[in-house]
């Protein structure tokens, strides 16, 4: 699988290692939450980055402050209709303050890609031969946002009331540009 990240398809050099398989010494790997909880110390002792693959029904809060020690967290979209990972992603970003790479894996459809990015997911796994044009186009389908999410985009309410937003965002000036300019 390849990665869609920063607007382009990139090679993926991460590997998920099952609970019973041996961990390679110098390769970036993700492991299950369970394995991380059991072997976190030794995993961090390696020379290569480590990440966790969260299952759909696992609470991100279980990682606690460990999130700051991880280089990658993967959340799963087992099928189109299962939206739990959207909430998991928001908890990781907004509540736990996770700053590292947050990756969506599983069924990644272009029609959900925009929402994934809004929830703080910054890379997704796609088949190597997949055309990414549709995904990139999907990001441009909207230019105004009603609700705050994990992407820091200005909301419609903030654009309507810039003074308010200034205060909330700690004084950083909010540009009251038109919607069109905002999207550019």
């Amino acid at each position: 699988m390849a990665l869609l990240q920063h607007g382009a398809l990139q090679p993926n050099n991460w590997r998920f290692v099952g609970d019973d398989a041996a961990i390679p010494v110098d390769e970036p790997v993700t492991v299950s939450l369970k394995r991380w909880q059991a072997e976190g110390e030794s995993l961090r002792g390696r020379n290569a980055p480590v990440g966790v693959r969260l299952k759909n029904d696992e609470a991100p809060q279980a990682l606690g402050q460990d999130v700051h020690r991880l280089s990658l967290i993967e959340v799963e979209f087992p099928k189109f209709t299962d939206g739990r990972a959207f909430s998991q992603a928001r908890i990781l970003r907004d509540k736990l303050g996770y700053k590292g790479e947050l990756r969506g894996i599983g069924t990644i459809l272009r029609d959900q890609y925009l929402y994934m990015t809004r929830c703080g997911i910054d890379s997704v796994e796609l088949p190597e031969d997949k055309s990414i044009d549709g995904y990139l186009a999907a990001l441009k389908e909207f230019s105004a946002w009603y609700q705050p999410a994990s992407d820091g985009r200005l909301t419609v309410i903030e654009l309507r009331h810039p003074a308010n937003a200034n205060a909330r965002r700690g004084g950083a000036p909010v540009v009251t540009a038109s919607v069109a300019a905002h999207s550019a």
Binding site: T81, S143, W145, T155, R160, H161
Partner: protein
């Protein structure tokens, strides 16, 4: 009423273009029907028995005359000259062609309307009291909050793929006309001891196969925290709601399984962490939305209008309409007018394009250009001067829009049933038509008094049969259409679920069975002040069982 600013307009316009692209991909074969399905459902497009059905949102039931005219245009141009108003303040067109749907959406966008999130497992069109802003018993106007919720829930990136659909209703009055306890979340504006207004929050209501009334999740929520509290409920549900079984996926099942108190506690914990974050509502935004719902420039009028009084004396039929279909207004000299889309032998909730044009016309002439749609599938004119009532009635009558049966047995809620719906067990519309004819005599209606009769064609309960004073449910018995009857339901502040009277009735037996139920009530009520619902609550189902099945219910049990 609310008007779009540049942001609202942009979002709706971009949605039309996005959907146009999705339809094009489907027509070009880039998307299979399976892949297209969840996409079209997010935009209210169902595949039904004969054709596609497009469900259009009428947020909290408010329409301008311009919007009504546009609906009439769509009915003529893209449908067979009809529209169907639903129990969720939506309108459905049953015959659009897929390639034309993006154009219909463009027409809607031109008048600030859309079909966004009218189906699918997301937060659906927000509903509210149809008398908002004019009801005499109102604590505060729910439309402001319904609009705030509409905007927040539109394309919510986190809550667009929930375990199941999610419905929110808001009321601001004592008398619950929004049926908040049958919703996933019900919001009621209340005053606390300090005299501040806030929300009482109810959660976990829903009908369908497992009807459950919502439980109270919070007694008082300060208004500026509305969105963070909703977000806390939705996040808890999105993560924990069941996804393994579609019949157990609604929030009501989660709330029941967790326990109301425990669930409320989980929500509270989540909410504590986010309540002072970016969802905290700035007063400036509340004020901005509030301004759109400022009361119109009412005239100072005497509450008793002599011309109106005279017309009633001279025209008994008008007097009856006025007695039955008018509701007390906040402002002296004005009335709230209910227009029942329940003509004798008609299809509940259906309006023809001509009727819609007439509604727009009378709204302009008599009601400041505004109409409302109710969850009882009727229409409301919210701002009519009493002195105009007679002229209004004269315009409505020839168009079959002056039926005087609001709140009576022939003011039936009915889902589309087997005539349109591929999930149906039985037809609902013909039963509603036969009942409305059977109980067509106004004297009979008056004698029976207040009575809510609701019909669903299957267990999905689109016709709210569980909360009808009398409920009729279509069931399938060896390939035959049968009807199960419940009594004692209510969707109001005294909400309750109906109890089954016994074995189901055949198509031929259903109208006589309802007649028997009514006669049992009439023969046994203490007096006229004991409404049907009161009687059922006092006497239970036994008198009905006795009357319907006697001591030998054998014939009907055979069909069970």
């Amino acid at each position: 009423m609310y008007r779009y600013d540049e942001f609202d307009a942009t979002i709706v316009r971009e949605r039309v273009e996005q959907f146009r692209g999705q339809v094009a991909r489907r027509l070009a074969g880039e998307l299979t029907e399976d892949q297209f399905r969840p996409l079209r459902l997010k935009n209210g497009l169902y595949l039904q028995l004969h054709a596609y059905m497009l469900r259009i949102a009428i947020p909290y039931g408010v329409l301008s005359s311009r919007q009504v005219r546009k609906l009439a245009y769509i009915a003529r141009r893209y449908d067979r000259g009809f529209g169907h108003f639903t129990t969720r303040q939506n309108i459905q067109f049953h015959w659009p062609q897929l390639p034309e749907v993006p154009d219909i959406l463009q027409h809607l966008a031109d008048v600030e309307m859309h079909a966004i999130q009218t189906s699918g497992n997301c937060i659906r069109n927000v509903t509210a009291d149809q008398f908002a802003g004019v009801a005499a018993d109102e604590v505060e106007d729910p439309r402001i909050w319904a609009e705030i919720v509409r905007q927040w829930s539109t394309f919510h990136p986190e809550f667009s793929y929930l375990p199941r659909k999610f419905k929110i209703a808001v009321t601001g009055a004592q008398d619950d006309r929004a049926a908040i306890r049958t919703h996933d979340i019900g919001l009621r504006l209340v005053k606390n001891d300090a005299g501040e207004t806030g929300f009482e929050v109810w959660v976990g209501g829903g009908l369908g196969r497992t009807p459950i009334l919502a439980v109270r999740c919070r007694a008082f929520l300060p208004k500026q925290h509305l969105l963070s509290y909703l977000e806390a409920i939705l996040r808890t549900y999105n993560l924990l709601g069941r996804r393994d079984n579609i019949y157990k996926a609604r929030i009501k099942i989660l709330v029941q399984a967790t326990g109301g108190e425990k669930f409320a506690q989980m929500v509270e914990e989540e909410w504590e962490k986010i309540k002072d974050g970016p969802l905290h509502l700035p007063q400036a935004e509340v004020d901005r939305i509030h301004r759109y719902f400022a009361p119109p420039a009412y005239e100072t009028l005497p509450d008793i209008d002599p011309a109106f009084e005279t017309a009633k004396l001279e025209h008994p039929e008008f007097a009856r309409w006025a007695r039955v279909n008018l509701v007390k207004h906040q402002v002296p000299g004005y009335a709230i007018v209910n227009i029942a889309l329940k003509s004798e032998g008609g299809v509940p909730g259906d309006a023809s394009a001509d009727q819609m044009d007439l509604l727009a016309e009378v709204a302009d002439a008599f009601s400041l250009g505004e109409v409302r749609i109710t969850h009882h599938q009727n229409v409301v004119l919210p701002y009519v001067r009493k002195r105009d009532l007679f002229a209004l009635w004269q315009r409505l009558k020839p168009a079959k829009l002056a039926t005087s049966n609001l709140g009576f047995i022939s003011d039936i809620i009915a889902c589309p049933g087997l005539d349109y719906c591929n999930l149906a067990n039985a037809r609902s519309i013909p039963v509603a038509q036969r009942l409305s004819r059977h109980f067509g005599d106004p004297r009979k209606l008056d004698e029976i008094g207040e009575l809510r009769l609701n019909i669903s064609g299957c267990i999905n309960a689109c016709g709210h049969h569980h909360v009808g004073h009398i409920g009729i449910l279509g069931v399938d018995k060896q390939g035959q259409e049968f009807y199960q009857v419940t009594v004692g339901g209510s969707s109001k502040e005294d909400a309750s679920l109906g109890k089954i009277v016994g074995a189901a009735f055949s198509e031929d037996d259903i109208v006589p069975a309802i007649d028997t139920i009514i006669n049992t009530y009439l023969a046994n009520r203490t007096d006229r002040s004991e409404r049907f619902l009161d009687y059922v609550r006092r006497a239970g189902v036994d008198p009905f069982k006795e009357a319907l099945y006697g001591s030998a219910p054998a014939r009907r049990t055979a069909a069970e």
